[in-house]
Amino acid sequence: MNGNDFTFVLDGENIRFEPGQTIMEAASQAGAYIPHLCYHPEYRPRGSCKLCTVKINGHFGTACTLPVQPGMQVENDTDELNLMRRRVVQMLFIEGNHYCPFCEKSGNCQLQALAYHVGMQDSHFPHFFSLRQIDASHPEMLLDRDRCIQCELCVRASRETDKKSIFGLAGRSTSTNLVINSESGLLGDTDFSIHDFAAHICPTGALIPKREGYPIPIGERLYDHQDISAVGHLHPNAAQRGESK
């Protein structure tokens, strides 16, 4: 039974992993999809969106933060977990203001795609209708806080890759808010650029190029025909549209 020490069980399948990998990393490498929004392979996991919650030997845990141990029994694609994930996505929807009908990111949005994936059809909870500020001060990029899910991917990308530290989260609980590191608090008063890695990492339409406007026709968008578990996050046109990988 050589190599037995480096396998675990994911939804009944034996999966090999490399020592030090998280459950998420091992699953991704094996081609298994675990839903996630705040996880990105380039950055230290945060475990904040809770969508990658799996059941490990009967206990809940986030797949993006927990290292795999040999012989672990991990449940991922189960009714129980998917219902829980649906409630999490619904909470994200009612906490922000996600106007899919006219959002430029619609059809290419990971939040929306995850909602489709977990079978969400309504919002279940009362809507907050939170008051959030739009920031259009930057000439090339738009920050629409209504669509922000506070995953901190832009925060991490700007700090770790772009070395600019333009974004941060401030406030607590439902008042948590994406803030900009400039004296005015406006994106236009920073050295943020459309070529930054952080400009293309937002899973929703919170940070989008200002001058595109529905660039991909309905029917050709990333999630128009296929589930996020099948197509992942990268639009085939991503490269030509200047998006990072």
């Binding site: 959002c103 909602a115 489709y116 309504d122 919002s123 809507h127 209708f129 025909h225 296929q226 589930d227």
Partner: protein, 180 residues
């Protein structure tokens, strides 16, 4: 077999969901062999049959007192109530007004807009009182089924109605569960 009775209405919506229903095209002619319309913008029946109807389809959110009244009438008289479209499910585009302070809304179009004569705020008792916000239906009454989308595709209406006619749970496949 007696036909099933269907009532429809639009609250704070744009009638786009009703249009999408009509996008069933020739299938409408097949459908009317199986269903009968009760109160609907497509008929001249103004009040849902007191004896109740089988299915109620409502598009639009709830923005004024009259919407609340109509929604409750539907709930009390429809065996199955279906929230149709983004406005019914989330408030939709009309809910963009929820972010505007009431004081600011007060003056814009009737007092200080372009080309206004006799500036005044309409206040006749015939005009229903507005609610403070536009609400999704599920915040006011219990909802049995939903059709997401702005509007839901015609095929989603087809699946819903044919499933309910056949006595099974509607099952919207991937292409029929759109949010836009």
């Amino acid at each position: 077999m007696s036909k099933i009775r269907v009532a429809t209405c639009s609250l704070a919506g744009c009638f786009g969901c009703h249009m999408s229903f009509l996008d069933l095209d020739e299938r409408i002619a097949d459908l009317v062999e199986l269903i009968e319309f009760d109160r609907s913008p497509l008929t001249d029946i103004k009040i849902v049959d007191a004896a109740g109807v089988d299915i109620g389809l409502i598009e639009g959110g709830v923005c004024n007192a009259e919407n609340v009244h109509t929604l409750r009438e539907f709930r009390s008289r429809c065996r199955i109530l279906v929230a149709v479209g983004a406005c019914a499910l989330t408030g939709g585009v009309p809910a963009l007004r929820n972010r505007i302070p009431l004081q600011e809304c007060f003056a814009e179009a009737y007092l200080q807009g372009a080309g206004i004569e006799a500036p005044q705020v309409p206040n006749d008792p015939e005009l229903p009182l507005l609610l403070d916000r536009v609400y999704p239906l599920h915040e006011v009454v219990r909802i049995d089924h939903v059709l997401p989308g702005c509007p839901p595709p015609a095929d989603a209406f087809w699946e819903l109605l044919t499933a309910l006619l056949a006595g099974r749970e509607p099952d919207l496949d991937y292409a029929l569960r759109r949010f836009d």
